[in-house]
Amino acid sequence: MSKQLHKHCDCRNYAPVDVVKGICHRTKDVILGDEIQCEHYAQLNKCKHCGHFTASAEEFMGICNADPAKPWTYPDLITVTCEAFKA
């Protein structure tokens, strides 16, 4: 995925206040989540970054291969609490 596609809301140091904006833990500023990342970007792990994830043809959907049942999942599901996450 190209660097330009990363948004603030994909950054580990972005604390989402709501669906639009959040606080940058580095600067403490309120910023818009959909704006493009700054040079301090640190990846917030989501399903789409996981080695067990396969994207589906349907937009915003995918499969979790970490589970033998291969349940569906979605790319933007945050995985900081998922023990099966594979970088």
Binding site: V20, L32, F60, M61, Y74
Partner: protein, 903 residues
């Protein structure tokens, strides 16, 4: 434009003056008491003001994924394991400056749908939502910030944000997952399963017609199945989560395979203890994840003070994950975490913290004795607690969250009352709680004083001072009334006088039973109160009383929709007695079909969605092993019959009695014709105002002027007028006992609940003109004991006489809202007057009174320039809400309320 009703009345010599007891000053008068929050709270509150209600699909995803994977497991284990995984996978989010941390979801004001209760909304809107999610958007920062300053409601799609239920925003990339989750619950959700069995009730067609025509406003079992009750924090405070798990393990060993003399439920105990253990483990993982996040931020943070705060947050969380709290800060964090866990387990509004000042007092007292904390530090923490509570959102349908709740979540914190031994329970921490409420004005938690003659004057005046900030809180509840009601309703379940003192308010003003628990802290013992009753305001939800009267007058046919609701009665209604008898018959019919169908809803809920974590907090689970669905709570007779529009009904009955039956100034047919034709006026929807005075004439012929004048001139409730008040008495003395003829799914009798919340707006919108002269679509009178706006002309004490012609202890509550101009209660003398006024109502036997201390001109200005009044709060009906987050009908109704200019 036609003439306004207020102008028509002026010409007829019948002024509709909404000022009583004098005239308001010409200029705008601000509230006398205005304080500021501490800098930390001010910053976090400002963040709240600019936060949108935001929804995620994270919790529903993990819950659904594991629930599905566990097909074949016992229902309770399936639910417990799904809950455990959902809690364990929540993303932790901590914001700079916070000391109390954790939230429902990873947004500041986050929430999520629970489609296992009801997925119908998503299925109905699937196509629309899917299209919105797939549309690409590029909203500008200007558009977004504009949205952010207009209150937190996301009422429409914008940019990459999709609006759900007219209130919650969801990021477009999550919408397809939300829809997919909803699809997985089709024919499995409580809503869908309920429908199947509800239809087997013979009177189901009447119930459906009642709901379609808004005679009743909401179903009970799959909308807000829990809440309007009081949480009990005792078990985590006393044992800690590791201690609770240890108790479960021990009890499992004792009960496994043993029925314990109970052939029906005895064997369930093993599964119940295991379920509690699993959910508590999930909650522990959730707290641990927050602790890890705090550690990560501690490492990342450069600024020394913030770095230290993250460290202390981590230490507190690491401790309370496993252990009972040792101090005030740990205790307040643990109570907050426990509160959130309850809210994350099920859809609930009005999960009240109860008597928090008495629960936290042992920690406060011992910390102060040790010199570990001072009052200023406690005040800061209490202000931060207010902001956390205000950030709670309940995710529900537009009709429920908007129409019934006005977006409020009803976390009621009660003060005062009595201790177990009958001594006054007010303490120094409670005074700080009031002070925090004055300094940091927020909607949550709302405060209520459990008024008792034994409470110290100083404490009561402190509460009055808070009223004068214009917060709308504290509300005043009559402690002795509530105790009497407790004994009346819960005596059959073993309630004693001592235990009746442990009551508290759940939700806005639903009195709820409690128990005393012995907390031990550092070798000292304290009796703390905690909730021990099932949800209230469940069973039969709001029935619009004026709507029932409309159906009586028109032989069972709704005049707005033309649809038949009740079977024809065929009566000519030739006497008032006949009219009253038919009203009783239709009302009884409505209660019966709503009780049976809602019993089925709750029965399905308890079989599929029983609460585990909340049951662990409240039930006698250690001794009995029973959970909520097995009547495990100490008090289970909590189901009720709710009404709306009491005073509009009473005034309408009075007008019919006076004009048609006693004085014979008009025939019933003439009255019906006038009602049908809205007394020659336009509808509220056409006028775009929901206040009676603003309504405009359509018909200038004057056909209905005479009859309208007659009904408006008829005696009105609220003036100490026996003619009107006897009708109120007749209604209450019939209604209160009749509720006990209906039983809940637990086989226990119901009781009356008489609050309006916000239902008087949508139910008024669904009701044509009423015989009291109210016009089509305008709101009903608010509360149940408030006078209808502009009709109380003899002062507050006359209103109190009218309101207390019946015994309020027969009812769970009654509701009196009063608007007072700030100048009427200026200074210490004014405070004493307001306290005396309150005391007078309590002594006469009134249950509840609450005040809006505000100049109505401020409210009118705020209607015109909403964006300038982001922090303006008003008291609606049992709750304080931000003006900008209230719908226009309720705004109009609050503006129209009689404003008392003098006491």
């Amino acid at each position: 434009m036609g003439k306004k009703l207020s102008e028509v009345l002026e010409q007829s010599g019948l002024s509709m003056n909404f000022e009583a007891g004098g005239a308001a000053p010409e200029g705008v008068v601000e509230r006398e008491v205005a304080q500021q929050p501490c800098p930390r709270a001010a910053k976090l509150r400002e963040l709240y003001y600019n936060t949108l209600s935001s929804a995620t699909s994270e919790f529903p995803y993990w819950y659904t994924r594991f629930h599905k994977a566990l097909d074949g497991e016992l229902p309770i284990m399936r639910r417990a394991l799904a809950l455990k995984q959902a809690f364990a996978h929540l993303t932790p989010m901590i914001y700079p400056g916070e000391l109390i941390v954790m939230g429902r979801a990873h947004y500041y004001r986050g929430s999520y749908p629970m489609p296992w209760l009801s997925e119908g909304y998503y299925m109905a809107k699937e196509d629309e939502l899917h299209k919105a999610a797939m549309a690409t958007g590029g909203a500008s920062a200007d558009e977004l910030s504009k949205f952010g300053t207009g209150g937190g409601n996301v009422t429409q799609n914008f940019g990459t944000i999709v609006s759900l239920a007219g209130k919650f925003g969801m990021r477009q990339e999550e919408v397809p997952a939300t829809l997919r989750i909803a699809r997985e619950w089709v024919n499995k959700s409580a809503d869908d399963v309920c429908r199947k069995y509800e239809k087997m009730v013979p009177e189901y067609p009447i119930k459906e017609s009642i709901m379609r025509n808004v005679v009743c406003i909401m179903d009970s079992g799959f909308t807000l199945p829990q809440g309007r009750e009081v949480i009990n924090y005792f078990y985590p405070l006393q044992y800690g989560f590791d201690g609770i798990i240890a108790i479960c393990e021990k009890r499992k060993g004792e009960v496994a395979g043993r029925a314990g003399g109970d052939g029906l439920i005895g064997m369930n105990r093993l599964y119940n203890y295991e379920a509690i253990k699993l959910v508590v483990e999930g909650v522990q993982s959730w707290i641990e994840n927050y602790a890890k996040e705090a550690r990560r931020l501690e490492e990342f943070e450069q600024e020394p003070v913030q770095k230290q705060e993250y460290k202390e947050i981590a230490e507190r969380l690491e401790w309370i994950t496993h252990n009972p709290p040792r101090n005030f800060r740990e205790a307040i964090q643990l109570c907050w975490t426990t509160h959130l866990a309850v809210l994350n387990e099920d859809v609930a509004s009005g999960m009240s913290p109860g008597r928090m000042g008495q629960i936290l007092f042992p920690y406060f007292q011992q910390d102060k004795e040790r010199g570990d904390i001072n009052d200023q530090e406690v005040l800061e923490w209490l202000q931060l607690q207010r902001i956390k509570f205000t950030c709670i959102d309940v995710f529900g349908s537009a009709g429920v969250v908007g129409g019934v709740l006005s977006g409020n979540t009803f976390n009621n914190l009660c003060l005062g009352g009595l201790q177990r031994n009958g001594q006054p329970a007010a303490n120094d921490l409670e005074k700080l709680i009031i002070e925090a409420g004055q300094r940091c004005v927020t909607t949550q938690p709302t405060l209520s004083v459990m008024y008792d003659e034994k409470l110290p004057e100083e404490f009561l005046l402190k509460a009055i001072e808070c009223n004068k900030t214009g917060t709308g809180y504290p509300a005043w509840m009559n402690n002795r009334n509530a105790m009497d009601f407790m004994l009346r309703q819960y005596g059959r379940e073993g309630m004693t006088v001592e235990e009746s003192r442990a009551w508290s308010v759940g939700g806005c003003l639903e009195s709820s039973p409690g128990s005393w628990f012995e907390l031990e802290l550092n070798g000292r013992k304290y009796n703390i109160p905690g909730g021990s009753g099932q949800p209230t305001s469940v069973g039969v939800h709001f029935i619009g009383l004026p709507k029932i009267l409309e159906l009586v007058l028109f032989d069972g046919v709704d005049q707005r929709t033309g649809e038949r609701v009740f079977p024809p009665h065929g009566r000519k209604l030739e006497s008032y007695a006949e009219l009253w008898a038919q009203f009783q018959a239709y009302f009884r019919m409505a209660v019966d079909c709503l009780a049976t169908t809602n019993n089925i809803q709750h029965d399905i809920w308890r079989k599929q969605n029983m609460s585990v974590f909340t049951s662990m907090l409240k039930s006698r689970w250690i001794e009995t092993g029973r959970l909520i669905h097995e009547m495990g709570y100490k008090y289970n007779a909590t189901y009720n019959v709710e009404t709306c529009g009491t005073v509009t009904l009473v005034n309408s009955l009075v007008a019919l009695k006076k004009v048609v039956y006693d004085d014979r100034e008009a025939t019933l047919e003439e009255m019906k014709d006038a009602v049908r034709n809205n007394f020659g006026f336009k509808t509220a929807e056409e006028v775009k105002s929901y206040s009676l005075a603003d309504q405009e004439k359509r018909d200038e012929s004057g056909t209905y002027d005479r009859i309208h004048f007659l009904v408006l001139s008829a005696p009105k409730y609220g003036n100490d007028d026996h003619y009107a008040d006897s009708v109120m008495q007749q209604w209450e003395e019939w209604f209160c006992p009749m509720c006990s003829e209906f039983e809940s799914l637990y086989g226990l009798p119901m009781y009356p609940c008489q609050i309006s919340v916000s239902t008087h707006a949508p139910m008024g919108a669904a009701t044509v003109a009423t015989p009291d002269g109210r016009l089509s679509g305008t709101t009903f009178g608010d509360g149940s004991m408030s006078a209808y706006a502009g009709t109380d002309r003899n002062g507050p004490y006359a209103l109190f006489n009218s309101a207390t012609v019946w015994d309020h202890t027969m009812s769970q509550n009654s509701q009196m809202n009063m608007k007072v101009h700030p100048t009427a209660i200026h200074g210490l003398e004014g405070s004493k007057k307001l306290l005396e006024l309150t005391r007078a109502y309590m002594r006469k036997g009134g249950f509840h009174i609450q005040y809006n201390i505000v100049d109505s001109k401020v409210l009118r200005a705020a209607q015109q320039e909403q964006e300038k009044y982001r922090d303006l709060v008003v008291r609606v009906a049992g709750f304080t809400q931000y003006w900008c987050e209230i719908g226009k009908p309720i705004q109009d109704e609050v503006v129209a309320r009689t404003e008392y200019e003098g006491m």
